[in-house]
């Protein structure tokens, strides 16, 4: 029954796309949310079945193959879904949080017309369908269907309000940058097929597991390293890491629930999932793993610094997402695959919560998004405030909320696998995370309502309906989140509190069930003992290294760091806001650099976009297309015309001339035959 999981949302898409504009909003929304809930139900049942299965070689999986999709020579790809611990977690996250976000959207998007409403939900359902295909696929091509599909839906949804130029630009940017990553992904796939002759995940894992994993051969097999690097390039595109992260902040042009679902909880995690799915491959390419870890942690720090000074509530969250994804990649890079997925799962809860909360704020303020125009909202929007606060605490990594356990797991595994420098950078990033998230909380909800920025651009267009007056005046009718939105917020808040408890590490007395649950997914079947990746080995070994005491100590340390960040934020942004302004003034250059996002977009534009445009229009268009091709075609015509102008003079109309030509022929032929 696995196919039902993506099929139901797909049916929802078809219905809403085809007849949506004739359905009332209630029906459209109910349909879309309903199929998601149904999908979640089936997913839950499937996972229940899975858990009840007896493990084979320590591995539990449900695999269903539907028909042979690609059959070309030695390449046989069936359309097959595989539910194992890893994909079951992903499926539950996608359908569960997806359902909540659909529910939220029914209220959030209510100001749209019926047709637009239906269009929104059709896209959202389509996205869910593709994402589910991505995680359920049992081979690279099937995953790639989902990979491309979510990219498409991301474009459609970012540019949902396509009449607004910035939105359609953002959509295009997302798609194109993703494409660059996808190029790497495809090349990686091809390399793997070329080297190993198969693209099925299990078969690949088995084959790769047979390769010697000699630590002395640090670079690993060259082909594998190259392939995994290319796949990682695809992951940087999809999951917004350096250097292909630039689309994610712009993607905030889309409706907030979209940002919550796609750009926090699910699509951007596809890259992380991909690495987790191919853990065996990556384990045998240590060089790639190093790159992954370094890129991840650098991105985390990089994005964190930018998030510190951004003024749009969604942009801050966007950069926060980039930063947290960096954490996940760091985890994958040091071999803590389970840790990375664990963080993915907890992050889905609190990031979605934060985005939905910001959406509630924007909704209440009728489109205002600039935090300099906010403040004091906690009195007017209590539900929003409390849930948002829970999300903020969670992301800062304060125990016992979810973010603490997952983030800490990553930090511990980084430290204990001898990546102390990376660990230090990660700790700094954690500090920044706490700081800027609490900054966001304070500036939005505490203090007095400000109107610092006139005509905040987010005011009118962001919500789709042009708003005559920007922002609402103080104490005017600010309504808190309506029913469906509130429900989603509350459920996610509960999740943010409780989700972490499946991963309580041993040192605190827990059983770390999630790691045990996920671990078989990161192994090749049958290769239990000797191919147990460097993951387990190093983790176990170095757990001996420092022992429980060290782990506990580090845990304490990171909590203190988070608390310090909160403290700094409290002082600077809550108690004495003038410090912030003074610092901005004193470090004006740095401030501008951060505010301008390190001018990366401008850099890309100058070095890549403009040259391509010039080459395309100047050389390729004018030179090749107009000059060469048109020239050739026209030239042929001209030649024909020229020749025919010459030849047609033979048609003199004079009989005598014709007779003459006759006769010439006769003489020639007669002569020829007589000669012979």
């Amino acid at each position: 029954m696995l196919y039902l999981i993506p099929l139901l949302p797909f049916v929802g898409f078809l219905v809403n796309a085809a007849i949506g504009k004739r359905l009332s909003k209630t029906v459209s929304g109910l349909l879309a949310t309903g199929v998601m809930a149904a999908s979640f139900g089936i997913a839950a049942m499937s996972v229940w079945t899975l858990v009840g299965q007896a493990p084979v070689d320590g591995v539990r999986a449900i695999e269903q193959s539907y028909y042979t999709w690609l059959s070309s020579g030695s390449l046989q790809i069936p359309l097959a879904f595989r539910l194992d611990p890893l994909s079951s977690l992903m499926v539950l996250v996608i359908t569960g949080i997806g359902t909540l976000i659909h529910l939220y959207s029914t209220a959030y998007m209510h100001d749209e017309t019926d047709a637009e409403y239906a269009r929104y939900f059709s896209y959202l359902n389509l996205f869910a369908a593709f994402m589910l295909v991505l995680v359920l696929g049992s081979s690279f091509p099937v995953m790639f269907i989902g990979w491309e599909g979510v990219g498409l839906c991301s474009y459609l949804l970012i540019g949902f309000w396509f009449k607004k130029p910035s939105a359609s630009e953002a959509g295009k940017k997302a798609f194109i940058v993703n494409r660059i990553g996808d190029f790497g992904f495809i090349l990686g796939m091809l390399a793997l097929f070329w080297a190993f002759g198969t693209l099925d995940f299990q078969e690949l894992a088995s084959k790769v597991a047979l390769l010697p994993n000699d630590p002395a051969m640090w670079a690993g097999s060259t082909v594998l390293t190259a392939a995994t690097l290319l796949l990682f390039l695809g992951a940087t595109g999809k999951s917004a890491q350096l250097p292909l992260y630039v689309w994610l902040p712009d993607a905030m042009e889309g409706p907030t629930p979209v940002s919550a679902l796609i750009h926090a909880a699910t699509m951007v995690t596809a890259g992380v999932y991909m690495i987790g799915r191919n853990a065996v491959l990556f384990s045998h390419a240590p060089f790639t793993l190093e790159i992954v870890a370094i890129v991840g942690v650098v991105t985390a720090l990089f994005a964190g610094t930018i998030g510190l000074v951004q003024n749009d509530i969604k942009r801050v969250l966007a950069y926060s997402t980039v930063s947290q994804l960096g954490y996940m990649f760091l985890a994958m890079g040091v071999g803590a695959f389970a840790g990375g997925i664990f963080h993915l799962y907890t992050h889905a809860f609190f990031k979605a919560l934060l985005f939905l909360g910001s959406g509630a704020v924007i909704h209440a303020l009728h489109g205002e998004q600039d935090i300099r125009n906010m403040g004091g909202l906690r009195k007017h929007l209590p539900i929003t405030f409390y849930t948002f606060a829970i999300g903020t605490i969670a992301i800062a990594g304060i125990p016992p909320l979810a973010g603490f356990f997952s983030k800490d797991e990553i930090l511990w595994k980084t430290y204990s696998s001898d990546h102390k420098v990376l660990w230090a950078v990660a700790v700094v990033a954690a500090f920044l995370t706490a700081t800027y998230m609490f900054r966001l909380l304070y500036l939005t909800f505490f203090g007095d309502r400000r109107h610092g920025v006139a005509g905040g651009h987010g005011a009118h267009a962001a919500h789709g309906t042009p708003d005559p007056g920007h922002g609402t005046p103080d104490h005017a009718h600010l309504h808190d989140a309506p029913g469906p939105m509130a429900i989603a917020l509350i459920v996610l808040a509960i999740g943010s509190i409780l989700a972490g408890f499946v991963g309580v590490p041993h040192v605190l007395g827990g059983g770390n069930q999630i790691e045990a649950f996920l671990e078989p997914s990161f192994r090749a079947i049958g290769a239990v003992a000797e191919a147990a990746p460097a993951v387990e080995a190093t983790a176990e070994a170095t757990a001996e290294h420092g022992g429980a005491g060290l782990e506990f100590g580090l845990m304490l340390f990171s909590t203190l760091v988070a608390a310090a960040g909160i403290g700094l934020a409290t002082v600077v942004f809550l108690r004495r806001p003038q410090i912030a302004d003074r610092m901005a003034g004193q470090f004006a250059g740095v401030h501008r650099l951060l505010l301008g996002k390190y001018y990366v977009d401008e850099l890309y534009d100058a070095t890549i976009v403009q040259p391509i445009k010039k080459v395309s229009s100047g050389l390729l268009w004018r030179g090749v297309d107009a000059g060469l091709i048109d020239g050739t075609v026209n030239g042929v015509g001209l030649v024909v015309r020229g020749w025919s102008a010459v030849l047609r003079r033979l048609q003199t109309g004079s009989v005598r001339a014709y007779a003459m030509s006759f006769f010439v022929g006769v003489v020639t032929i007669v002569g020829y035959y007589l000669w012979r």
Binding site: R648, R649, Q651, T652, G653, S654, V655, R656, A659, M660, F663
Partner: protein, 103 residues
């Protein structure tokens, strides 16, 4: 005395006649004279047929000649009709002025 005429002589005579006829077609500027030259050519061919007939002892050549003459008659009739029509149109018999079928 004069040499006996061989088959070759007849054939050569016929060739000469044919050449004369062709020359006439090219040289003359009067349509009727051109038609007459064509008749000359046809007769040259007739001579060939009869000569070979005699040489072979067959009678088929003469039958060919009948047909040639018949067709020549038909052709002359139609050709002259066309000449008359052309003459009515342009009041001249020079073939070179009738150039409507040109490019």
């Amino acid at each position: 005395m004069l040499p006996e005429p061989t088959l070759n002589s007849y054939l050569m005579l016929s060739a000469v006649l044919f050449a004369i006829g062709t020359a006439g077609v090219f040289l003359r500027r009067n349509i009727i004279t051109i038609l007459l030259s064509v008749e000359v050519m046809l007769n040259a061919v007739n001579l060939t047929f009869i000569a070979v007939d005699r040489f072979r002892g067959l009678v088929d050549g003469q039958i060919m000649v009948f047909f040639v003459i018949t067709v020549a008659a038909a052709e002359a009739a139609v050709g002259l009709a066309i000449v008359i029509a052309l003459f009515r149109h342009k009041e001249t018999l020079t073939p070179d002025v009738f150039t409507s079928l040109k490019w």
